[in-house]
């Protein structure tokens, strides 16, 4: 993209790549991104902080995004979320004590016909019941975690 505009167009893909490597956008990544695109560290951080899929602080290897918007709410998301929070011992936005799971209630994921839905490392899971979540959790725990948010 940078070939088509200015260097800054490469910023977000670069940050996504850094995050895939490091788990979050480190201060080093901020400086590297600034050097790459010719903007300041502050500007990079301003941009990072704007986007909800870019993290400025360390997060778990497993990132759970649970949809909370209207259709999922109508499909029982509240009950699911309560269950997930209890199960992981976290509040919304927190990472589990073992550092493995970061839990975020997010806005509409555009899978409203299969409510409630969630994403685990950006992979969709549909019609998730509390029981289904427990099953999923076991498979996530068992599987070697790849990049939490793949940049591709």
């Amino acid at each position: 993209m940078a070939e088509h505009g200015d260097a800054q167009a490469a910023l977000i893909p670069f940050l996504q790549y850094c995050q895939e490597q490091d788990g979050y956008v480190t201060q080093q990544a901020v400086s590297d991104a600034a050097a790459l695109t010719g903007i300041t560290d502050g500007e990079v951080e301003s941009i990072v902080s704007f986007y909800s899929l870019l993290f400025q602080h360390p997060v778990g290897k497993h990132i759970i995004h649970a949809c909370r918007t209207l259709s999922c709410m109508l499909g029982g998301a509240d009950r699911l979320h309560e269950h997930i929070r209890r199960r992981l011992g976290v509040r919304n936005g927190e990472t589990s004590a073992d550092g493995e799971f970061t839990y975020q209630e997010v806005e509409c994921l555009a899978a409203c016909d299969k409510a409630p839905c969630l994403q685990h490392n950006l992979q969709f899971h549909y019609n998730v019941t509390p029981e289904e979540f427990d099953r999923l959790l076991e498979t996530w725990r068992a599987q070697p975690a790849g990049a939490a948010l793949p940049a591709e």
Binding site: T40, D41, G42, E43, V44, E45, S46
Partner: protein, 809 residues
Amino acid sequence: MSADRPAASRRMVNVVIDGSALSVPEGTLVVEAAKLAGTSVPVYCYHPKMDPVGLCRICLVEIEKTPKLQIACATRVTEGMVVHTSSERVAQARNGVLEFLLLNHPLDCPICDKGGECDLQDFTMSYGPGLSRLTEPKLHKPKRVDLGPTIVLDEERCILCRRCTRFDDEIAQERNLVVIDRGHRSLIGTSDGGPYRSYFSGNTTEICPVGALTSKAYRFRARPWDLTHADSVCAQCSVGCNFRIDSRFGRIMRTFTRENLEIDDGWICDRGRYTFNYLYEPTRLRRPLMRRGDDLAECSLDDAAALCAEKLGPAARAGRVGVIGGGRLSDEEAFALQAFARQVLGTNNIDYRVHLQKFASPARFGARLIDIDDASLVLMFGAYTPEQAPILDLRLRRAVARHHTQLMYIGPYRPHLPVEAQYVEYTPGAIADLMMQLADTVHQGRTESGDGFVADIARRLAQAEKIIAVHNGRDPASVSALDRLLETLAGYNHRVGVLVVGSQGNARGAEAAGCVPNLGPGYAPCSGEAGMTTGEMLKAAADGALDALFIAGANPALTFADGALARRALENVPFLAVAEQVLTETAALADIVFPTASFAEKRGHVTNLEGRRQAFGQAVEPPVDVLSDAEIIALVARAMGHAESVSPQPAALLAGLVRAESAAERSVGDLLPRAKVDAVQPAAVEKVDATHRTFTIIPVPHLYSGGGAVAHDPGTAPMRPRPYAIVNPEDAARVGVVPGERLTLSGSGGSIDVEARVGPQAPVGVALVLADMPEAPANKLLDASGFGTATISKAASVPEQRSLERVSA
């Protein structure tokens, strides 16, 4: 209005605003047109110097034939537009925006610095709701965020208008202050919570429409309605920004911009803004001092004047006396000082030049600061405006970033510039040659065909319609060569002009007032033989050929290029009288020290680098025994029986100066005569071999360096740099210099300890040494050319932190 506004054309359109018909340039913003119509539309995010962003929505107005309310700050007038700025709908929208802004705004107005001059208070009173409908606790955000050396941020008071971040982006072009996060969670911040360091930071506290950004220097100090205002002019550098001094009970509380579009465009730098608290420090001189052996002891003004008369009289009669200073005095005082030398002491031995600067004015092709705005090419050499003339640099940054002005920096090293520039690295002695080659190339029309980098530059010159040169008046040969180059370019119908950045705030005023050995007031050749330059006086004093020196507002011990000579001279001269505000390195060597008034404590005029003479008023009274320099000079003259020769009154002195200037009968376009200079060959850079540790020393300026007021001011202390030397990474690897370690630099006049820095700014074989630092005077390493050589070695031990209390020898 700032020159940035793209829209306003010359075509006029007819509009009706609140019933009054008027004709305004097409494309004028509705908010500006409303001002012309005599009504005002409230604004928060809008600022006339910055691009409209339309965020705060307080300026919504009703425009007929447009269904929705429109923002006055970003809507441009068109023919026949009918605007209502106070209709029922507008009132409701404003009321709504204010209600939203006040929802979570902490009502800590009683202790808020902005209280009384706050747009949120004022607009709420004029347009806002009387009651809050919020029935729950306000949302909380960080309060008292330490934003760096100058500013405290209250995120709760912030209304997210983004004026501050846009200032740092559009005006300062630095982009370190940013918006973090989004939505109502947004905060103003910096990278990793680090300090907001900018030479212009104080301006954000002024443009903040609420009390979110407050100045550390002013926090909780006063209420705005208790302040007494005085219009003043900043004399910290040669730009001459207009500002206002606000005081309470005779003490300065803060300073504030006083917009002069042609000079400062409404901004001031932090050195200008914050350097005033030194006046209230114990180190500020309040009583005259007289030498008793190794010590200086307090004495009366009369005793000090009497001793001066006793010592200066015989020295003057013997023709063995000299006077140094003027560049830090007002125009009136500089005039008084040269009158004192010529009429009281009977000598032409007077010189204001104690830095590297030789000339303060262009001989021809003068320029205005506003000429930078539409220059096609700015040619900077020698001067380094980001450190030496920040507000000039702001203008330059804007011109480069927004008006396609090209910046070419020619110099012996490659400093960091905040905007895009072409660097031409050139050895100091060769710049004159370069200018001559350029002049020849342009003249001979070889610009199209030649190759090599001289031809490249010549081509760019040839393509530039308007060329402004900014230099430091330091190297007479290159200044003459520049004159020749500009002459050539002017001959081909280029518009050209020169700005000489002074190394002292009133260098140009001092030069014009006659504080040079061969020219009197108004650049008129002085009667009698030309006197000695500063260098000659110091040489004579060091050699025992002078009996007395009178120095007013100058610190040659720290700033004169050949520091060893200066110190030897000041130590050897039998009698030294110094007028100063603090005990500088020079004053500490004196036999008599007169405490002097600051600019805030007197009135008069200063002349900026354009040659513009500006009046400044008195803001506060000086301490009892503290006189202005003019009064001190008059006092000494009276003690010598020459009361009639020098008036202490600014008005009388100015009248004398103006009379002398008109008598000089200089008309526009005349070539100005040049001040006498010492013949000094700039040192050629030595070639270094692979192993030795000898470096060429080039002193570099810093906004907060210096040994006078700024060294004693608690407000600017956090911004003071520690002495450092920068070497090229190649050299660092070669001789094993590690960034951060202590180095000892040893030269002909002694050695200094500095912090090692490594960077590409320094050419190979060169160490860039921070100039004018009392704790590590770079001039110990320099010769009269302003360059020097030194060997670099690791420092023996870590020195103790410099005390602010005292810097005397």
